[in-house]
Symmetry: C2
Subunit: 350 residues, 2 copies
């Protein structure tokens, strides 16, 4: 067993606090990773506070994990000790359904095993995430961090990066296409960078005029204030694709009006409260589409990392010590971060 | 000018009644058609009763038109006198926008000219539809009726046929695919026939148990009572594509549950009252899509007619005399037709 230092939630209401527990010993297909960095995602906060359903405590969140392989099982073929690797939102799936066979493990028909908040098949215990100094994962669910990517700033690619990369690929963002991005947070800032790197024009929709300058720095070719009707009218019928990173319920009608014929609005937030969706005629009269997308499968996550290395793309981050995680949560709730907190795991035992 | 006998609405509330008017003389690019048959579409009724907005009266409805070329302009190249031809829902468009250039005139950015209820560019007068014995149309908006298609039973292909054919092609219905069809009316019965002819399995969703036998005769491989939760659960996560022909507002959630990952629900009714749409998580967690589709462009309408001739597909129709149109409307409102009324235009002056 692998003794592991972590920051964990001990209830839905207490702040995160230091905790030690044991990881399973690596099985034949497992790699043991010394975690170096872990990004801080809104999902972490919602999960540990019980806002997405009851969970087991203590609970260690974190699913934007980067570290070095320090041990491996006898059957491991892809990774060797010393490799810089990543683990994202899932650490297992059924591996036999059509989605798993297609390398789309995030849509596993049996339900994937979350990196935290799930149940570890090998032990029957809760899975524990990356606010910790070690993790043991089957190599199928591990990706390689290419040379040249700063490992701290690459951590958010494992969730915010792949969540935006996958729909950009699925709906063919690229040269000659105009892509809208709704919201400039952790996901949105990655969406802007990635869509631009793919060669698309990028239009950022925001409610905050003070985000315009930063959006252009990140790659946006246009910035639209989404509550300003004249601004919205200016871009009516001009977009091929919109990635909507806003989870809170909102009216999709004004956004769909900015789509061209055959354009697609892709929801990235898995809200359980319906958005306001426009009437059928909006879909019928110009063949517009409403869709969704969830993170990405392992092959596409690797492809995304390689793409980011090729184009020099990482997340804009603020590196924090583990002890500052509770402050970071409060700031994240106020959108006071540009654009992702990442925990320096070397500080976890300090 | 071409003297024309017709049945027209003279107000939103009066029954249709005989009327005579003049068509424009054929211009260089026009064909003059002696109409033989015209299908009766729900749109006809909604339009003449003013339910889709104010219109000019008298108004001749009808956009499922089949007849013979009896004269042509000097520049007409595709058709000659004696050819059996068809005219569908549109008789003109801007001809210059991206959609028109793509042969998708139904999505013309300037708005297409409806076969009735529009404004004829050549004369500035209201366009008048196919419940009449003559029509003059630019050859670009005319299609050829292939030999071997019964012209009376082929008339509904010009609206009900192309409206279902186009989304089946767009979303790649074919062997190995499972296609759901919601509602067994004029559109639904064509959707079942066409999807089956393309090689797909076809699941009919209906609220009427007494439609099951007929659905199977038409080609459905399964029939599901959409208000029966156990029946709906039986087909959960099994469909690649659903064509929803029901215009009245309804809850799309149960239908979307029957889609597989990456499945698409296509709305065919251009309702202005929103349907109930499920929350984002339904779209996100299996990349399901909601879309719409409107009739079809001229090239695809010709392709559809050729496909129908090759596969021996026409509409199931009930041929009526023109004087019986008002009775037909009342029966249509009660879904008392299998599956499309077609007017025998030879009776129009009787």
């Amino acid at each position: 067993m692998i003794p592991t230092k972590a920051y964990a939630a001990h209830s839905a209401t207490d702040p995160l606090a230091p905790w030690t527990f044991e990881r399973r010993a690596p099985g034949p297909h497992d790699v043991q990773i010394r975690i170096r960095y872990c990004g801080v995602c809104h999902s972490d906060l919602h999960t540990v506070r019980g806002e997405w359903g009851d969970i087991a405590y203590p609970q260690v969140p974190g699913h934007e994990i980067i570290g070095e392989v320090v041990a491996r099982g006898a059957a491991v073929g892809k990774y060797k000790v010393g490799d810089m690797v990543g683990v994202g939102c899932l650490v297992d799936s059924c591996r036999t359904c059509a989605s798993c066979n297609d390398g789309l493990e995030q849509y596993c028909e049996g339900g994937f095993t979350g990196t935290y908040g799930g149940v570890e098949k090998e032990t029957g215990r809760p899975t524990q995430g990356g606010y910790s100094d070690a993790i043991v994962v089957d190599e199928r669910f591990v990706v390689r961090i290419p040379d040249g990517l700063d490992p701290a700033a690459a951590a958010p690619l494992l969730c915010a990066g792949i969540t935006t990369y996958s729909p950009l690929r699925e709906w063919k963002a690229g040269p000659g296409k105009r892509v809208g991005v709704v919201g400039l947070g952790g996901l949105g800032h990655m969406a802007v960078k990635l869509a631009r790197a793919m060669g698309a024009e990028v239009v950022l929709f925001t409610t905050s005029p003070d985000k315009a300058e930063d959006a252009r720095r990140l790659g946006a070719t246009d910035v639209v204030l989404s509550k300003d009707e004249a601004e919205m009218a200016r871009v009516a019928n001009t977009l091929d694709l919109i990635l909507d990173t806003v989870s809170a319920p909102h009216d999709l009608g004004p956004l769909m009006n900015t789509l061209r014929r055959d354009g697609t609005l892709v929801l990235l937030g898995g809200n359980v409260v319906p958005h306001d969706v426009p009437p059928a005629m909006v879909f019928v009269f110009s063949r517009k589409r409403l869709a969704g997308s969830l993170i990405g499968g392992l092959p596409e996550t690797q492809e995304m990392l390689d793409f980011c290395a090729e184009h020099g793309i990482v997340s804009d981050i603020e590196l924090i010590a583990a002890k500052d995680i509770n402050t970071a949560y409060e700031r994240m709730l106020k959108s006071d971060v540009k654009y992702r907190f990442v925990i320096d795991i070397a500080t976890i035992g300090a």
